[in-house]
Every structure is written in C-alpha cells, then in structure tokens.
C-alpha cells in the first residue's frame, strides 16, 4: 500500500511541477494584492501590524490551493475518467486521492513560503515575527489536509466540470467572507469553524498568534472539528462515485 502510494505520489509530483499555471491563482494573485495594499495603504509596515494582515492571506492561499489543486482536481479526474482508470490500476481510489493530496500539500506550502519571504521583507520582520511565521507555516501541514477533507464534501455532490468553477468561486468568496465574521461568542465562533473551512483556518492561526483568548477551549474544539473533518473526508473519498456526473449508471 505504502509503495503504491509512493509511486503514485512521485508520478503526481512530476506532473504537478510541469504545470506552472497553478502558481498564478494561489501565489501570484495574493502576492500582487498584498504588495499593492502594503504600499498604498495607510497602515505602517511594522511587525506589529503583521498579525492583523498576513493570516488573511495565508487563509486565502490555503483555501484556494486546496480547492483548485486538490478538490477540483479530483472532480476533473473523475469527469475525464482518469480517476476510474487509475483506481482500476491502483486497486483503491483512496490511493489516488492521497497521491494527489500529499504533493499538493508541499506545493501549497512552497507557495506560502515564497509569500512569507516577501511578507517578511515588506514588514521588516523581527525574530519574533519570523518565529511566528515558521510556527504557522508548520501548522499548515496539519491544516491543509484537514481543509482538504472538509472540502471533499463537494465530491459527493454530482457536480459537472462546467459548473465546478462557478461553484468553487462562490464557495471561496463565501468562505473568506465568513472567516472574517468574528464574535466574542465561543458558540458562534465554534459553529462558524464547523461549517466554514475559512473560519477554521483563521481560528487555528489565531491560536498561534500572541494574545489569543480561550486557547485551551478553542484548541480542544478545533481538534474535535479536525477529527470529524478527517473522518468525514475519508468516508466520502471511500464512498464517492468513480463515474462521471454525466454517466448513465
């Protein structure tokens, strides 16, 4: 099983590195926007303002990366029969899913790392800020798969490729919008983190930022949500149809 996964992941990595287009949405767009707002905004570019600006960009990059490079990729693979073909070859569709997920986690992390280097230069990051960036970056190795499992809910909806783009764009904007709906209520914030992956990411970063409130309570809640996402995601991947949404049977 592990060897099969390793062979598939290696192949997937080779293919991912051939496609430079993925960097446009996940890295180039937010970086350009970040630079424009940084140099035209009224806020000073100090480490103190860093924690208020940069986590939003990380959230965007994780969400867009997961949606475009993992969840949409699986839908496209299903629609063009690649998923079906390679599931027959590999013997288990979960292998195909994980073989896509693993290299994409590293690709998204590479994109965030490049962004972080730029952000660190722009904000003249001090040692404390750099440490914070590193901790959040390392946390992404857990956050990205969890968000991928959550967004895999889309895999059970009979979505056609043509409608996928529109659906994902709407999902992304709604997710990001809701991520910034913040209250002091633990219940509301928990509910938001359950239904919205954007809120989950923001809450997770907030736990790592200085001055976080209710750390133990939120950590427990996010851990439970993460486990539920992981279970649900794996069940969905196991049960999802190999057939295209346009297939007869």
């Amino acid at each position: 099983m592990i060897r099969k996964l390793s062979a598939l992941s290696k192949f997937e990595t080779e293919m991912v590195l051939k496609d430079k287009g993925i960097f446009v949405f996940t890295l180039l767009f937010p970086t350009v926007y970040f630079l424009v707002t940084a140099f035209t905004g009224s806020r000073s570019l100090s480490p103190a303002n860093f924690v208020q600006n940069v986590p939003g960009f990380w959230t965007y990059m994780v969400l867009v990366g997961v949606i475009n490079q993992i969840t949409s990729a699986i839908v496209t693979m299903r629609e063009n029969n690649f998923l079906k073909m390679f599931t027959f070859i590999a013997g288990d569709k979960r292998l195909i899913y994980y073989a896509n997920l693993i290299p994409q986690v590293f690709v998204i992390q590479a994109e965030i790392l490049i962004f972080d280097v730029i952000a660190a230069i722009v904000y003249r990051a001090d040692f404390r800020t750099l440490t914070l960036m590193l901790i959040c970056w390392l946390a992404n190795f857990i956050i990205i798969p969890i968000i991928a499992f959550f967004t895999s809910l889309i895999l059970i909806v009979p979505v056609k490729v043509q409608t996928m783009g529109a659906l994902m764009t709407g999902y992304l904007f709604l997710g990001l919008f809701l991520a910034y709906v913040q209250t002091n209520s633990l219940v509301v914030n928990t509910l938001m983190a359950v239904i919205n992956p954007g809120s989950f990411i923001i809450r997770a970063y907030e736990l790592l930022l200085p001055g976080a409130n209710n750390v133990v309570a939120y950590l427990g809640i996010l851990a439970v949500i993460a486990i539920l996402y992981a279970i649900a995601g794996n069940v969905i991947v196991t049960k999802m149809s190999l057939n295209s949404a346009t297939a007869r049977a």
Binding site: R3, F82, I89, L242, N243, A249
Partner: protein, 226 residues
C-alpha cells in the same frame, strides 16, 4: 460468469436492461455486440462494480481489485510521457521492481519520451491496451479497444487481447468491428433492447443468420430484433 434476471432503468425512465441473462465463457474472448445505446458500456460498468453490482444477479465475477478495465476515451494524463505512464503502472503492479525504459513493450519503445497528449488517437489506444494487458488480473474488460485504430493496429490489439485468454485470463470486450473476430475462440453476445438476443461463436452466429459475413449477420440480427 453469469448475469441472471438483471433489470436496470435509466434516470430518464428508459429501461436499459429487462430481465437480462448472460453467460460469459471463461476461456474465450467474450465480445459484447449491439447497436449504439444498447447499454454495452453500462454493462461493463456494472460488471466492473463502478456501478453497484447486485450480487444476486451477477455471479462468478471477480472482485473490483481483480478486474482491469480499459475505458473508452483517453484516460491518461496528457502531460505524462509514455514511459512515465508505463513506469507508474509497473511500479504499482510490482512495487519492489524498478522499471527501466528498455523494458517497455516493443510497440511502445519508439514512443517512450512522447507525451501521452501528443500521441495520435490510435497510439493512445495502443498505450492504454498495452498498459492494461500488463496488469495481473483475473478479468479484463475492454470497451471498444479497436475504435480509432488502423486495420493493422486493430489486429495487433485484438491479438494482444486474445493472448490474455491463452494465459488463462477471462476477457469481455465490446466491439463494433468484426474483421479480427476470425475464430471460434470468440464468444459473441448480441445485446439489444435490454436483453442478450444471441450467444454463440462466430460460426454459430453466421449459421443462425444464414450468411458467411459477420457484418451482414450483425445487420440481420439487429433487423430481426427491431
């Protein structure tokens, strides 16, 4: 491998299979014939378990993991070279062995470094068939394997499929072409209007339709049903 009393209705309420019964021979190449839309590919989907296979209707078929299925279309990544694709399949099939470029089947050696997306339709089909044939499974399903191939390549592909039965493998394929179905090593199954209307060797089929040409026999059978 048997299908008994199988019914299936499409979402548009059209009955695709109506008390369908079929008996597939273990040591012959089973060829599923029938007009477009008769449900040949969908039947392969059920046999392969891509569509849920009702256990009470399908008996003697291997499980999902023991089936290889060549799909219609070109379901390999266009960016991957023929060697990369083949190497991946061999790595999955035999994870302990490193696959070298000179181990590619002769037919694919010249295409080793060509991206799958840049191959002609026929070459793509050849790569898929070669790849599928190298998997070690009990049952092989081929959906129109000759489609889009020139006569020489089509003969090569059918010969390759035929070899599988010589290795003790079970084979079911769909077809619209008959020039290579030239011996009684093939078992024909004519599917139309929800049922298998004929099962037998090409010789039986010709005898039943009183002709010596398989295409003519096919047309006569189709007319008889309609």
């Amino acid at each position: 491998m048997q299908i008994t009393h199988f019914d299936f209705t499409l979402p548009d309420e059209r009955k695709l299979y109506d008390d369908l019964n079929a008996n597939f021979a273990d040591h012959k190449v089973n060829v599923l014939l029938g007009p477009n839309g008769a449900g040949k590919t969908t039947l392969l989907d059920f046999i392969s378990t891509v569509a849920p296979r009702p256990a009470q209707c399908f008996t003697g078929f291997p499980t999902f993991k023991r089936i290889a299925y060549q799909l219609q279309g070109v379901p390999f990544l266009p960016e991957a070279t023929v060697y990369q694709t083949f190497k991946l399949v061999m790595a999955i099939e035999n994870p302990k062995k490193r696959f070298a470029v000179d181990e590619l089947p002769t037919e694919l050696a010249a295409l080793a470094n060509t991206q799958f997306g840049k191959l002609s339709g026929g070459q793509k089909r050849l790569v898929i068939i070669e790849t599928i044939s190298h998997l070690n499974r009990d049952l092989y399903l081929f959906d129109e394997p000759e489609s889009g191939l020139d006569p020489q390549m089509a003969r090569q592909v059918v010969a390759k499929i035929h070899q599988l039965t010589k290795r003790g493998k079970k084979v079911i394929m769909t077809a619209h072409q008959f020039q290579n179905i030239n011996s009684d090593d093939y078992q024909l199954h004519f599917l139309e209007k929800g049922k298998i209307r004929f099962t037998g060797t090409p010789t039986d089929f010709l005898k039943a339709q009183q002709t010596d040409d398989l295409v003519e026999a096919y047309i006569k059978q189709a007319k008889f049903v309609s």
